[in-house]
């Protein structure tokens, strides 16, 4: 009887891990920390910079035990902690394909490197929602922005539009009045989804105008953005508006495009999991902003990552017991 279970003895090679975590945001990094500390051989693969949406936040003031920290620094701390416990992290790669069925899961990155594992945690998070109107890609960085603190000062004394109706849109619109001569909020509904406090603050700001039940359907300009076409969704009336900049804050979408047909997604394309973060496929778990959930915070992502890691650890241990028993 084998006393030490080693999946590499099965000829799966040096690129085999006990667990692969897809995504290095708060959920993925937390899973990596828990798994590696428990001596579970773990690889984290990530298509962008490590930290996920934490990096988008300049200041996090409500992470328990930490009075104030930048999202970037918190992400770096988590990354260092995971690596210290022995986790392998590969960021800025391109996931080419995922094979999630069967006893051995396979993930191919950059079209050529194959990694296998007996379990996978999907923690791919979310990304800023774009409008999808013509010209949006062309004028990104040349009049269109998704970050007020990054780019606000390029619009000193300019006229800008903020698109959105949630807390972020209203809050950023107010902060942008520190730069812009005028801010017009364009929102698709006839009411805001933001907390009343943010709505009142925006309504009381003399520099802010509102265009409701409307959306931008086209961005125009030459080297930089000059004009947008706005359509009233109720009347279909079309208006042209000359503008220097547009800031877009219309929420996040889960990064689950690559999972079509692989695991169960709900109508919002969020991954369906049970209370142990398990999906419909044995050995596949999910955590963080990509799963179906109501509240998306750093702390809830950390909790999801913890649960997923503990669930996966138990799954791996059961596999080892089965393998050992089979060897007798």
């Amino acid at each position: 009887m084998k006393s030490n279970f080693d999946l590499n003895d099965m000829g799966l090679g040096k690129n085999h891990f006990d667990v692969i975590v897809v995504g290095a945001g708060a959920a993925g990094l937390t899973a990596g920390i828990y798994l590696s500390r428990a001596k579970v051989k773990t690889l984290i693969v990530n298509e962008g910079a490590v930290g996920g949406q934490m990096v988008l936040t300049h200041e996090i003031a409500n992470y328990p035990g930490v009075e104030n920290i930048s999202g970037y620094q918190l992400a770096r701390n988590m990354k260092s902690q995971a690596i210290k416990f022995g986790c392998t992290i590969k960021s800025n790669i391109k996931i080419t394909s995922m094979q999630l069925e069967g006893e051995v899961k396979k993930i191919v990155v950059n079209d050529k490197d194959e990694f296998t594992a007996h379990a996978v945690i999907i923690a791919t998070g979310g990304r800023s929602r774009t409008i999808g109107a013509p010209g949006e890609d062309k004028f990104k960085g040349k009049g269109i922005s998704y970050c007020a603190t990054c780019d606000g000062d390029f619009f000193q004394n300019k006229e800008i539009i903020v698109v959105g109706g949630g807390n972020s849109a209203l809050e950023e619109a107010v902060s942008l009045t520190n730069y812009a001569s005028n801010v017009t909020i364009v929102h698709q509904f006839d009411h805001f989804q933001a907390l009343e406090y943010y709505v009142e603050e925006a309504k009381n700001n003399p520099k802010i105008d509102f265009i409701m039940e409307s959306e931008i359907v086209e961005f125009n300009g030459d080297e930089k953005l000059k004009n947008v076409i706005i359509k009233n969704m109720k009347t279909s009336e079309i208006n042209s508006m000359n503008i220097d900049g547009v800031f877009i804050f219309i929420g996040y979408v889960p990064n689950t495009n690559d999972l079509d047909g692989l695991i169960n997604l709900n109508e919002k394309r969020e991954i369906v999991v049970d209370q142990n973060m398990a999906t419909n496929i044995p050995g596949i778990y999910a955590a963080g902003d990509s799963i179906q959930k109501k509240y998306r915070q750093v702390t809830t992502a950390v909790a999801d990552g913890t649960i997923a890691a503990l669930s996966v650890s138990e799954y791996i241990n059961n596999l080892k017991k089965e393998f050992t028993a089979a060897e007798i």
Partner: protein, 125 residues
């Protein structure tokens, strides 16, 4: 100084020296914000793959960053970071706002071709 592991360009003189001493240069001029950080991280990852390209950062708000802010190629840019690619001291490409790894390598491959080094995945023995 930016909190990255890249070479830091701290003055106009250092900028000039960098361009004089390196045929292929990529400079990311930004802050430590959410649009800039992913670009720095990508550049740090790419250093081992593109070993004939010099990757560097420059803080956007220092006065000497005018060498990048005032380039004709960055005229009209309104999104951080400003990324500039130089070949033999001349600008061959400039981009504004966050760039993905694919977008960056497309430019590197187009202008600094034949110098990509295939490496094993770091951390995998």
């Amino acid at each position: 100084m930016l909190n990255t592991n890249l070479t830091h360009v701290l003055s106009k003189d250092e900028h000039e020296k960098l361009l004089n001493e390196n045929e292929n240069v990529m400079i990311c001029c930004g802050r430590m914000g959410p649009m800039c950080i992913p670009v720095y991280e990508t550049m740090e990852e790419l250093e081992s793959e593109y070993d004939s390209v010099k990757f560097a950062d420059m803080e956007f708000d220092i006065p000497d960053a005018s060498v990048i802010r005032n380039l004709p190629e960055t005229n009209g840019f309104a999104g951080l970071p400003f990324v500039v690619y130089y070949k033999n001291g001349k600008v061959v490409e400039a981009t504004s706002s966050i760039q993905s790894r694919d977008q960056i390598t497309e430019i590197l491959d187009e202008h600094f071709s034949s110098i990509k080094v295939e490496t094993s995945i770091p951390g995998i023995k």
